[in-house]
Symmetry: C2
Subunit: 473 residues, 2 copies
């Protein structure tokens, strides 16, 4: 029996032969959905319980084999698939998709890591409660992956990232021990914050197998408005005004550049755009615990005040849920419209909200100087200081050529500008393999040294998701 044969036999013992995949088309587990990384797994293992995850980790430990934990495999940075060596085991959490329980009076729910985000939202909604994490991949990403990458999305302004929505974790350690940290407590000061260390560590420190999540009462009404703003400075001014007027009722504040909305007009002409083109368009969302009428009245008063102050030039308040959905649909169509326009160089950056206008002005100008005619697809979560500041080839230049020839230089300009404003090169997508080398250049050496010490402390053999986040030695 070969060495791999021994491991496969042990994995089969751990999870049953039906759940150890070594043959056939495994590309759903081996290739990321954007098809940037083509890996080859030694085996794909699909445990059905936390105990089985622990058994898989122990088997891999005994054979000195590395593990790549995987949820919905919807990540954007190459953190959830195997490398091309054929020596790594993919541990897919997809079969662990049970809602373990909902505690309505405590406003918590406990779920398996493999639950699809949308299923988590729906289980909460079935009890009249809200799990607010929301992002484009919610129909296929898993809550374990959301936590492993500290996912962001559209509701961060009010509810925080995945990190802020999690009270407790269950984790299988590199040694195959189970840490039951599934606490439903809002206050617990008994030692170091292990929970937040695993959240955002992209499967490199332990394998999240379950989580206790925060829930909220469902709002009585959710409504949206669209506002045309003359400049990014005005957009920031509108944000301040909206935060003061609506307080925590302001649950969304998305900005869309004119070129980005123009791509939606071009590729999806059937989508209504209620406002005429403006340099920037803002989508505001308000969640109200009283009524739709109350929300609309607050919105109208806010937008009137913004008009008076010259912060906006035009606005439209959605008159129905259908109209609200249409406004969100506009925003959500930008990524698809830009794909239809051609490949582009994507960024997921954040700077302090107050620095966004200066960042955009300086970076737009620097890119235009370096690449005359370059087209900028700017949009994102302005309320969180997070822009998807994407760069498209000048009209007429082949997108693939532009990517091949210019990506490095474009990234250098963008990341230099981000760092000059005290920003982050990965606001919500993580590091994975994609930004690992950039991280070494951009992160403080003191921080990197502490990160390496922590990796060494919790996974000394380096068997968990090697080469992600940190370079393998």
């Amino acid at each position: 029996m070969s060495l791999n044969g021994g491991l496969v036999w042990a994995l089969t013992q751990a999870v049953g032969p039906a759940h150890v995949l070594t043959d056939g088309d495994l590309s759903a587990f081996e290739v990321d959905w954007r098809k940037r990384w083509f890996g080859k797994a030694l085996a794909v293992v699909r445990p059905g319980s936390t105990a089985e995850v622990a058994a898989v980790v122990q088997a891999c430990k005994a054979h000195g084999t590395c593990l790549v934990p995987q949820g919905g495999n919807t990540g954007l940075v190459g953190a959830s698939g195997p490398d091309a060596s054929g020596t790594q085991v993919v541990l897919s959490l997809g079969r662990m998709n049970r809602v373990r329980g909902i505690d309505a009076a405590n406003l918590t729910m406990t779920v398996d890591a493999g639950c699809v985000l949308q299923a988590v939202q729906e289980a909460a909604a079935a009890q009249g409660l809200l799990f607010p994490l929301s992002l484009a991949a919610e129909g296929s990403c898993t809550i374990g992956g959301n936590l492993a990458t500290n996912a962001g999305g559209t509701q961060v302004l009010r509810f925080g990232n995945a990190r802020e929505l999690c009270l407790g974790l269950e984790v299988v350690t590199a040694d195959g021990d189970v840490w039951d940290g599934l606490s439903g407590l809002r206050k617990d000061n008994t030692g170091y914050d292990l929970r937040d260390l695993f959240i955002g560590s992209e499967g490199t420190l332990g394998i999240i197998t379950g989580a206790t999540l925060k829930l909220y009462p469902q709002p009585a009404a959710v409504t949206t408005a669209l506002a045309a703003v003359p400049s990014m400075g005005s957009a920031v001014g509108l944000l301040q005004l909206a935060q003061a007027r609506l307080g925590p009722g302001l649950t969304g504040f998305e900005v869309m550049g004119e070129f980005a909305l123009g791509l939606v007009r071009k590729h999806f002409p059937q989508l209504p755009q209620p406002l005429p083109p403006a340099p920037w368009t803002v989508l505001l969302e308000q969640s109200d615990c009283e009524s739709a009428e109350h929300a609309t009245a607050l919105f109208e008063a806010l937008l009137e005040a913004a008009l008076e102050r010259g912060l906006i030039t035009d606005a439209a308040v959605a008159a129905s849920t259908q109209q609200s959905n249409n406004l969100w649909h506009l925003r959500e169509s930008i990524p698809l419209a830009q794909s239809l326009e051609g490949l582009n160089i994507k960024h997921d950056i954040s700077v302090p909200v107050s620095k966004i206008p200066a960042f955009v002005a300086a970076t737009d100008a620097a890119l235009e100087r370096a690449f005359p005619g370059v087209r900028l697809v700017d949009f994102g979560h302005l309320g969180d200081g997070n822009l998807h500041y994407n760069v498209q080839a000048p009209m007429g230049q082949a997108a693939a050529d532009f990517l091949r020839d210019c990506e490095k230089a474009v990234n250098a300009i963008v990341y230099d500008a981000v760092c000059a404003q005290g920003g982050s090169i990965s606001a919500e997508h993580g590091i994975g393999m994609l930004k690992r080398d950039e991280l070494v250049k951009r992160k403080s050496p003191v921080a990197l040294q502490m990160m390496r010490a922590i990796k060494q402390a919790l996974d000394p053999a380096g068997r968990l998701n090697p080469g992600r986040v940190l370079q393998t030695d």
Copy 2:
């Protein structure tokens, strides 16, 4: 020159002779304010800058000397003073009390760790903004201490603990390096969450020297109400109703047992108590971004609905800021009233909110069986599942005798009940020396092992606040 003499000389070089205290009455730095731990420092060092903190740590490293970081020295668990050996240096951050900057458009402020909490609140208020962390010691505790202990307080229900209010940290490591993690970003997924590892680590992993904090718009109105409830189950029902009706406008939900409010009546008869005695009394606070009238109308509708459902038997809405302050003053007088009544055995526990009624019923009964006539001073932050479940000697029994003879048995009953409900033995005060041994008994061995590995990774020589949180080997 003695070994200590060499160190003191080096410390003098680092911070100037005026800021190295070795003589005279140093009890303000050596004894905790509740006078439970009487320590003796080798020296008290008061650096004036982050660079000086780093120089102090390097000097102590060179001499193999342990350091005890100290803020306002208001902690409750023996984490901020030296032991009695006379070999530990107290590093007091009190001179580092500068507000480094406020970024109103980003809703952040950056401060030195030694800023007193109240000064932080006031600096925010001066810009029309709110820093919501609020607790009894706010006039003398420091923000660095608040972060090192992940302080809670009265606004956690809406705004979270100190952890949730911090975006970035500056930390001096055990090696005397400075980590500049002073980010004002709401989204930053570039590697492991070092920030949250230091928050709540009680100075055992590094020394917090600065922080970037989240601010909020000031609400237009803050108002309070008092409600008499027949049972703890009704109090939890009222909380659910209030959360659904007021949403994030509900910023405080404190519960007070009849015996606790009775002590206030007895020792502070001049304080008005607007409601007749009831088994439990709840203090609700609402922060409104519209107006006082709007807040009052919402409160009245809520309390009417609660009356109709039998959740409350009586209620009073404060008609002025003065009346609101009076209601808070009632709540805040409980700790002093119980001190005047005599020593008692204090707890700072949390359980899921839904489990509070069962916890209180079972624990009250178990204590009464073990100690007939025992008096329970129950009050706390019900909205967070956090009770200060304090135990007073039966009437007529000397408090000191009761403490001496019964504390261990009382704690065993309380902590067994807490753990049976999935709770925490330290909700907001931390571990320090006080609960270190209890932690070993109550925390999962897997968690303890990870905590020890992290301590070893970041402070291998064990020089930072030794013997706190974790036993020194």
